[in-house]
């Protein structure tokens, strides 16, 4: 089986969705230090924490909004070509996508300043993200062709894809301004390993009745494919040192960028909390190992045209080669090495939470029990319910998801959170998160779309996050 075959099967086999990067279970889960990474203005009561490198902040999400592996590869006796035609060609649209993202923390440390209202955090994580929208008209051209489709425009803009891998170095500051408001910001340096994107393609291919000849074929293209780091990885693969190349490019040896996260938590009253954050407001400037490809022009042809008597002027004229040369000069396929800027997929999170029930004494070494009103760090309620909004900027425009959640604290050792998320891809996404605290050892496991585990192959979305941290509240 060829690599391309395995690639597509792997993508479909993963099962899964378009709200990739939505971490609705982790968001506003203040017992978990990694929640600071998706809201730098989250409430935090740790003295310090450190994650276990490579065993924390692990997240993986992948999805196919239009089809699942089961839809195509179920052993159901239906002819595969029939399934492909009905469920892929007939069932998917250009808004459907295949996407995946992962994060792996390499370092994540946080500590409280001498000013107890200020908390610093910093770290490094590796992130990969890719998205490709269903290229409907390209697929139709490949499966059906253009025959008997006069005047049908095949949209070249259906090719929309992007992907990247990078290390992110970050430093965040969280400050509790008063008992109502906590704000935070996180500066980021992106060190890109590789990047590819082709998201602004325009053009069409159409066959019409000809003016002179029977048919007229028009190709109008304004297409671009930009890459950085790909050639370096290809060279490294052939030289057998791909690991060191990835490491080098991820440690400032590739392309660099800057970004910022901002967030806040605002207590509307003693029991109601509003939070919001905006993440990855930034860009990467690609100038190292860049190679771009372009196809731009507008040409119409009716085949080889021979009009007498003029055509007889040069008996040795090669009409076919002239036609080929004309088309290639009008619609040239070229490459260049121009630098480019790639903006990061910016994410927006917001939540409104209502707390009630008993107040659990905080682990923090502070005077912040249930009856304290003057201290900034009040104890937490045992129950929380609310709603979250998530939006991400994608090549075909913003995508959003709405989540309802319930959070329950069981003493200071266990917190569970369950979510129900709706978006245009799923109406049955139920997630469950568990956070356990055993002394200083913190463990969490968050899994999404649990109903899909009845038949994982039929799932269009899967994600999980897990991690191990050491946390101190400064108690003796």
């Amino acid at each position: 089986m060829r690599i391309s075959t395995l690639f597509y099967i792997a993508l479909f086999g993963v099962g899964i969705c378009a709200h990739a990067q939505n971490k609705q279970l982790l968001y506003d889960f203040s017992e978990i230090p990694q929640a600071l990474n998706i809201n730098p203005g989250a409430e935090v009561d740790f003295k310090w924490y450190t994650s276990i490198p490579a065993l924390s902040g692990i997240s993986f999400q992948a999805g196919s909004s239009g089809i699942s592996a089961f839809d195509l590869f179920a052993n159901d006796g239906v002819d595969f070509n029939t399934k492909f035609r009905e469920r892929v060609l007939g069932g998917m649209t250009t808004k459907d996508e295949l996407s995946g993202t992962y994060q792996l923390e390499l370092l994540n440390v946080g500590f409280r300043s001498q000013d107890p209202s200020v908390f610093y955090s910093f770290g490094i994580y590796n992130e990969g993200d890719a998205i490709g929208y269903w290229f409907q008209d390209y697929a139709l051209l490949a499966i059906d062709g253009n025959a008997d489709q006069l005047n049908r425009r095949f949209d070249l803009g259906d090719l929309k894809t992007r992907g990247e891998m990078m290390n992110v170095f970050h430093f965040g500051v969280n400050k509790q301004l008063n008992r109502k408001l906590t704000v935070g910001g996180r500066a980021k340096i992106y060190s890109s390993v590789f990047d590819f994107n082709s998201t602004r393609n325009k053009g069409f291919f159409v066959t019409r009745p000809g003016q002179n000849n029977i048919l007229s074929s028009t190709f109008n293209a304004d297409m671009q494919w930009r890459t950085s780091g790909i050639n370096a990885l290809k060279d490294a693969e052939s030289e057998g040192n791909i690991g060191s190349t990835v490491l080098k490019r991820g440690l400032f040896g590739g392309n660099l960028g800057l970004g910022v996260d901002l967030g806040f938590t605002y207590k509307v009253n003693n029991q109601t909390v509003f939070t919001a954050s905006i993440l990855d407001l930034g860009f990467v400037y690609h100038s190292n190992d860049v190679e771009n490809y372009t196809l731009k022009g507008d040409v119409t042809t009716e085949g080889v045209e021979v009009i007498l008597p003029g055509a007889l002027a040069d008996p040795n004229r090669d009409f076919w080669q002239d036609l080929v040369d004309d088309i290639e000069s009008i619609v040239p396929f070229e490459n260049n090495f121009n630098s480019y800027i790639a903006f990061r997929p910016t994410k927006l999170n917001a939540s409104l939470r209502y707390n009630w029930g008993e107040q659990v004494p905080r682990s923090a070494d502070c005077d912040c029990g249930p009856n304290v009103t003057s201290n900034n760090r009040l104890s937490k309620f045992t129950n929380g319910v609310g709603a979250q909004l998530y939006m991400i900027n994608r090549p075909r425009g913003p995508q959003s998801a709405l989540t309802a959640f319930y959070l329950r604290r069981i003493g200071n050792i266990m917190t569970v959170k369950t979510t129900y998320t709706v978006d245009k891809f799923s109406l049955s996404n139920i997630g469950f998160g568990l956070n356990l605290q055993a002394g200083p050892l913190n463990m969490y496991f968050l899994a999404d779309n649990l109903l899909a585990y009845r038949n994982v192959a039929n799932s269009r979305y899967a994600s999980f996050q897990l991690g191990l941290n050491i946390i101190s509240w400064g108690k003796n």
Binding site: A74, I214, L308
Partner: protein, 183 residues
């Protein structure tokens, strides 16, 4: 307590694994996917006005020209083509009967296919003909080895008369529709 929590953690992970199901999938079905699209486009357009035809004696070749045409013999096409048709439309608005011969030649100059059109003078002169290649027609190898198209026009009438129609001429139009196997 720490051990209890660790066990609970493991138990949850095991539960997810044990109680999740994966229906039987057969990824080898991908090998059954067939992609055999049909593509169509114009091939050759030839136009000769009556005044050019009148320059040549009757029963002589008005025109005979070889046109290099490598589109079908390119590997990307020749290795994949399964079957297809070539459509010709010959229109004659001149005042004389004409004979149009279209020959396909391979790279060695061998004639592999010949199509002859006898076309009457205007106003009734219009021929449309579809030639099939592949299982339902002539050998597809004719298409795969096509390197040159030779078009010959012969005047079967006089060389003095002129049609009353506006801009009288003989035109040969052609297009191809071929099914190819991409997978």
């Amino acid at each position: 307590m720490k051990r209890y929590i660790q066990r609970l953690f493991v138990a949850i992970l095991c539960s997810v694994v044990l109680f999740s199901c994966v229906e039987d999938l057969d990824f080898t079905q991908y090998d059954e996917l067939e992609a055999t699209p049909s593509y169509e486009a114009s091939i050759l357009y030839l136009e000769a006005p009556e005044n050019v035809i009148n320059l040549v004696n009757n029963n002589s070749d008005v025109f005979s020209q070889n046109f290099n045409f490598d589109a079908f013999s390119e590997d990307v096409f020749a290795d994949r083509v399964i079957e297809g048709t070539i459509t010709y439309i010959v229109e004659n608005t001149t005042s004389k009967e004409l004979e149009i011969t279209i020959e396909f030649l391979d790279e060695s100059g061998n004639i592999t296919d010949t199509e002859v059109f006898f076309i009457e003078e205007a106003p009734t002169a219009n021929i449309q003909r579809e030639i099939a290649y592949g299982d339902a027609g002539r050998s597809i190898d004719i298409i795969k080895t096509l390197s040159t198209i030779r078009v010959t026009a012969r005047n079967l009438g006089d060389n003095t008369s002129e049609s009353n129609l506006n801009d009288p001429m003989i035109t040969v139009k052609s297009s191809g529709k071929f099914r190819v196997r991409l997978k």
